[in-house]
Amino acid sequence: MADFNVSLRGVGPVSVIDVKGYLDAHTAPELENVFNKLLDEKQYRVVVNFNDLKYISSAGLGVFMAYVETMRENKGDIKFSNMTESVYNIFDLLGFPILYEFYKEENEALLKFNEQGKS
């Protein structure tokens, strides 16, 4: 019923997750599956591209909270890009900008990973 789609692509050493549509308690498990796959493959550098995400509830936000520390413990991170203002406002309301990096464009997030990889 809920219109949601998640896909995964590799850009060099970084995994980019594209989320599309409505991310709620019904569709959040689909996103969890993708994160579990990344952990299985020991891929810890992740950019989530929100360009086509129309809606997010706390069930969706909870997925990022559940996985971010594991990524960071393994020298990776979850970075966010291409968020619409309405979706960003929900992250902001819960204080996410204190703990997560948000970028306007996916490329900026990828560059940040490349810089961190060199140091």
């Binding site: 809920a2 308690a25 019904h26 809606y55 509830s57 909870g62 909270m65 559940a66 929900i90 819960l94």
Partner: protein, 145 residues
């Protein structure tokens, strides 16, 4: 601001499954739109109702799909009241502390964000225990605020 003297009441009953959240959002969108709220505020009201119903599905009914959720919307002059009633496990919202994102991060804690969001998004959020083992959460938004 689209002030008016209009009044309406509508009711929507669904089973307690997460795949009904999309229908719940559609129903809420119509009620908030008919009330005359801006698109931005309609988005806030939709999310608050989604969070309330998600909590009911998860906590009151523990993901059992047989529960019933009744959503009643009432608009009068400038006040939209959304009452959401279930017959599941009683829930005490005061037992949920206000989330601190940094503490959550340290504890790898997930959840509890929904109630906080509801309070941030709506003008009033009140919980009631009714006779017959019913629970009701009442969400209020004013056009004039």
């Amino acid at each position: 601001m689209n002030r008016s003297n209009k009044k309406f009441e509508k009711e929507f009953v669904v089973k307690s499954t997460t795949d009904n959240l999309a229908l719940i959002r559609e129903f809420t969108k119509k009620a908030a739109g008919d009330s005359g709220f801006s698109d931005e505020t309609i988005g806030k009201i939709i999310l608050a109702v989604d969070e309330a119903c998600t909590n009911i599905i998860k906590h009151a009914y523990n993901f059992s799909p047989e529960g019933e959720i009744t959503i009643s919307t009432k608009f009068d002059t400038d006040k939209l009241t959304i009452s959401i009633t279930d017959e599941g496990k009683h829930f005490n919202p005061n037992s949920v502390p206000e989330p601190n994102i940094i503490e959550y991060y340290k504890q790898k804690k997930v959840g509890g964000l929904g109630i906080y969001l509801m309070k941030k998004l709506m003008d009033e959020v009140n919980y009631h225990t009714l006779s017959g083992n019913k629970n009701r959460v009442i969400l209020v938004k004013y056009l004039s605020r």
